[in-house]
Symmetry: C2
Amino acid sequence: MARASGEAVLTRAVRILAVFEPDRAEAGVAEIARLTGLHIATTSRLVAQLVELGLLSRLPSGRVGVGMRLWELGQRASPTLSLREAAMPFLEDLHAAIGHHVQLGVLDGTEVIFLERLSAPGSVVNFTRIAGRLPLHASSSGLVLLAHGSHDLQERVLASPLERLTPATVTDPRELRSLLARVRRDGVVITEGHIHPEATGAATPVRDRHGTVVAALGAVLPNDGRAGGVVAALRAAAHGIARAHTARTSDSH
Amino acid sequence: MARASGEAVLTRAVRILAVFEPDRAEAGVAEIARLTGLHIATTSRLVAQLVELGLLSRLPSGRVGVGMRLWELGQRASPTLSLREAAMPFLEDLHAAIGHHVQLGVLDGTEVIFLERLSAPGSVVNFTRIAGRLPLHASSSGLVLLAHGSHDLQERVLASPLERLTPATVTDPRELRSLLARVRRDGVVITEGHIHPEATGAATPVRDRHGTVVAALGAVLPNDGRAGGVVAALRAAAHGIARAHTARTSDSH
């Protein structure tokens, strides 16, 4: 039998690591084999190696979960760590001021991925979580990032099937194109019920020192027509984040 | 030449990922080869595969840094995500109340690793950062975790060389043993200048629903003899975190 090449080993290891999600924090070897489509013996051997390296950890039950080492490797030199750290005080202030979910998202592929989220018990329903993803066309943060994304990215998203999450989700490419133009013009977007009928998203761009949009600052509010009231606070916080992030990145260069 | 086994490939890949630190957010292939001791050709091939998988990302300069996918894999199912999420509102309140660094640390091996840290510009010097580590015997959070750690862990640390970071660091095993007993008795520890001459640490345990200590909640303050004033706030926040964490973990079981 041919031995797996280095590339195959890494690819398989990442497939195993990807099994673990917020809703599946632990799994047994047989479950991992089923979810990855890998042979049970291969799975068992790779899981043992990943546990040995600390990327997975073996629980008392014999099942495995994500290891502290994996979290640490990804966290400590994350490309977005300095952005997140610069943003944190502003997210706290904004969260204290509006009392609903606030979040910071960046572009990854054709999705927005959320670096940080502050929420309060009793806040309106929210589908985002830290390291969670949403499609660009549906979420307010995603629309900000798409509106300021490259031409290629926009054409790719506009040409792809646009999933309808609620009746309010914009799924018509022509409508989406004009929405993106409005987002660029207004510097803010408010999406009422595009992701969930009871929630309104509001988001605004965060720029780096060259003026490039590097993140979206967003809030998730009840769908009661009053989202306009948070726009000024969102804009002010986005400016503050940009200023703090510029100060940090100038320091280190 | 023998082909590298799967285990060797994974071990080498982790050595490469470990090159990236807060102070080394990017590196070139030659630098990575030097730091890992791997052959340049091996390094180049593995880096290319890690970039392909998104665990590393290629920068415009040709150098590489940590990829978003690595952050995401470690973050979204982190064993400590629910603890961190439960703690966040209390960290914010504490931070607002005392105006200095506050942080949440957990035990990993013979070190404390910090899951979260909130700091303010102008706060006293602090050596911790998110995903940063400190030795158990020197830091206030570490002393809390060590005091409530297993007998084996305590004996292992007491038998190992205890690094002196400042003249105030406790490096005598007998003195450390009695300090640990005091930490258990008092439920709090204040370390004046143990890590840095100008900073005082204060930390208290955070317990899970079984009463087991799962984290240390700490603050870093100026070394001006007034740390006692934050103890009640620390204790209250630690209780709040325990309550919120218990509510979460009961929900999901």
